[in-house]
């Protein structure tokens, strides 16, 4: 009975050879503005892939509350978003890194107004070890060396004489990209890194493995301990508490930013205000980021970029 499938398959493989290659669709398409141009004025938000989900969720909520308004969110990376802001093809640029001075100068030159930065949420990750581990603090460089298997034994970083078991996240997660970017400085993880789906899986694995290390969102679970991280060998060790993350002293955290050319006005201002409102901040929390500390949230704290102003 199964044999009958064989000629059918032969036909199938023949058929596949015939059709022309499929139309190639790029996710995070770059033609969003083009599409937007044809329709009623839509607010475009473009940039950091890390922030796509956040902006998308906020936009859905915003559009539900404000019928008739359209917000188009696309990814592409922080650099892409900033480039689009410079070229005037997006109203808001999402960036998970601060703009460089040169980029700010370009915005001022091309758009005639200084880039304005709005922090919208905080992103950070913790490095965990088993709760019984004597290791209390590691520098960013030591963590990187562990994940590149340049350090393979805990005794090299002040722990017991035992091989380090390393856990990480799957390569489709934002946490993976952030860790790779900030800790490994774009170098590859060692092949020995065991990749698990989700922070919960990493926390669970570390809690069951005395000699392991893992990373993920700043979560608290039983059986694990988040270690204090030093920016470099001589810097003070900082624990990933909410205060330290918010104060910016914890090295593995960053602001997620939105940029506009000039002060945000009209639709862009309405959307930014909504992102910074309690509702918007709640979305940030549900997608795994930290809301801004209370004093910053509520109203959009327009921080006109100093570098650009100095360049004037």
């Amino acid at each position: 009975m199964n044999l009958r499938i064989v000629p059918v398959l032969a036909i199938a493989s023949f058929l596949t050879a015939c059709p022309s290659p499929p139309p190639k669709q790029q996710a995070g398409g770059t033609d969003a503005e083009g599409r937007a141009a044809g329709r009623a004025p839509a607010l475009t938000v473009k940039g950091s892939d890390t922030m796509v989900i956040l902006s998308q969720r906020v936009a859905e909520l915003y559009m539900a509350k404000n019928p008739g308004k359209t917000v188009q969110v696309t990814g592409g990376g922080s650099g892409t978003g900033i480039a689009a802001l410079i070229n005037g093809t997006t109203s808001i640029a999402n960036a998970s890194r601060p703009m460089k001075a040169s980029e700010k100068a370009q915005v001022l030159q091309r758009r005639g107004a200084p880039a304005t930065e709005y922090p919208v949420a905080l992103d950070g990750l913790a490095v965990y070890v088993h709760e019984s581990s004597p290791v209390q603090a590691l520098s960013v460089q030591q963590i990187a060396a562990i994940y590149k298997t340049e350090i393979t034994n805990w005794k090299e970083v002040g722990g017991p004489d035992a091989r380090i078991v390393i856990y990480g996240r799957e390569n489709n997660s934002g946490t993976y990209s952030y860790f790779k970017e900030v800790v490994l400085e774009e170098e590859d993880f060692a092949p020995e890194t065991q990749t698990l789906p989700g922070t919960a899986a990493v926390v669970n694995a570390v809690s069951k493995d005395r000699n392991s290390i893992g990373y993920g969102g700043i979560a608290y679970g039983s059986g694990i301990r988040a270690i204090a991280v030093k920016k470099d060998a001589d810097a003070p060790a900082v624990l990933p508490t909410q205060e330290n993350v918010v104060a910016g002293t914890y090295p593995l955290s960053r602001y997620l930013l939105m940029y506009t050319a000039g002060e945000a006005a009209g639709d862009a201002k309405a959307f930014l205000d909504f992102t910074l409102s309690d509702e918007g901040q709640k979305v940030a929390e549900t997608v795994g980021y930290y809301p801004l500390p209370k004093k910053e949230a509520g109203t959009a704290p327009a921080i006109p970029s100093e570098d650009a102003a100095a360049g004037e």
Binding site: M1, N2, L3, I5, V6, V8, L9, I11, A12, S13, L15, T16, P19, P21, P22, K24, Q25, Q26, A27, G28, R163, V165, E170, N171, N172, S173, Y176, S177, K180, E186, D188, F189, P191, E192, T193, Q194, T195, L196, P197, N204, A205, K208, D209, S212
Partner: protein, 340 residues
């Protein structure tokens, strides 16, 4: 039905042979038509299943083709680059690496193939002896009543969702193995393989059991007549006679184990290491597809490579399953046992 419709039917079906010289049975044509239509409909449903298989294959292969034709993708990955070890950095030794998200994406298939094979072999080594011995027991030794309990119980294993088995392997088996043997990797090919073995035990058991019971009675009677004990008969007569069927069961189990996703995704650690050591963590092809498909650029190199892997997996498991199925069918015919 209105008479007008009857007339329409008659004209549309002029070739229907008349039912002899007797007066026609009222409504016979209509019933014949309904019969025919139902038969067609059922056939169409049956072919839908085959069409689904074909369409899935067509779709998967179509997405993988740009790997060989698209210039942009070929810049990022070449077929040679997937097969042969590459010097990934200037002056570095050529090696295999699976790092699709990287400043220089690395798509060696070797770690994934090796991982899949390793886990599958562990699963077979664990499951096949257990399943075959269980089949021998229930076919040859078990009293009828016990057999009626054992057989459905083992087959019930097939009904456990693989995510549950994966969770069991992750939480229970992994801890047990690590505390017993002290493996460096808590999640490794052995843990995943044993978890996977649980899914193939019912496959191997059912087919082997069928093969054993299909051995003609005369074989047993001849052995007993020569004074052989029950164990001797089972070992020297029944098992060899059923060996083609048992072989087929192993082939089927292999195909099933290779394509299984959830258990290995959860319990293998998913580290793409090139080694034959079963206590190392492994990354398999199905787990890679499941883990990475969510966020790739549609139509990009990574996307095509994943579909290519899917097509290969499809072909391998399909050929193993067809081979096993064909063998089982042939065997049943030959031994004149249970009709296929």
């Amino acid at each position: 039905m209105a008479p007008a419709d009857e007339a329409a039917l008659k004209t549309s079906k002029p070739t229907t042979p008349a039912v002899g010289p007797r007066p026609p049975i009222p409504g016979l044509r209509r019933r014949q038509l309904i019969d025919k239509l139902s038969a067609w409909a059922i056939t169409a449903v049956a072919f839908t299943a085959i069409a689904a298989v074909v369409l899935i294959f067509v779709f998967v292969v179509r997405e993988a083709i740009p790997l060989f034709t698209d210039a942009e993708i070929r810049e990022e990955v070449t077929p040679m680059g997937m097969v042969l070890p590459q010097p990934w950095k200037e002056g570095a030794e050529p090696s295999f690496a699976w790092q699709p998200v990287s400043t220089r994406p690395k798509y060696s298939l070797a770690p994934l193939f090796l991982g899949t094979l390793k886990v599958t072999l562990v699963a077979l080594i664990f499951a096949v002896p257990l399943a075959i011995l269980a089949a021998v027991f229930s076919a040859e030794f078990a009293p009828r009543r016990l057999r009626e309990v054992v057989k459905p119980a083992i087959e019930l294993l097939a009904g456990i969702p693989s995510v549950v088995l994966g969770f069991f392997a992750l939480m229970v088996l992994a801890t047990f193995f690590q505390s017993t043997f002290g493996f460096h990797f808590r999640l490794n090919a052995i843990v995943a393989g044993v978890g996977l073995g649980l899914t193939i035990i019912p496959v191997v058991y059912t087919v082997s059991e069928d093969a054993l019971t299909a051995v003609p009675r005369a074989y047993r009677e001849a052995a007993y007549a020569l004074g052989a004990s029950k164990a001797r008969t089972a070992w020297s007569v029944i098992l060899p006679a059923a060996s083609p069927g048992i072989f087929a069961s192993i082939v089927l189990g292999f195909g099933r184990a290779m394509g299984e996703t959830m258990i290995v995704l959860m319990a293998s650690g998913n580290a793409a290491i090139v080694s034959w050591n079963p206590t190392d963590s492994v990354r398999t092809i199905p787990a890679t597809i499941a883990a990475e498909m969510g966020e790739v650029v549609v139509g990009g190199a990574h996307w095509s490579v994943l579909f290519f892997l899917g097509a290969l997996l499809f072909l391998v498991t399909l050929s193993f399953n067809s081979l096993g199925g064909w063998y089982v069918a042939r065997l049943r015919k030959k031994l004149g046992g249970i009709p296929a």
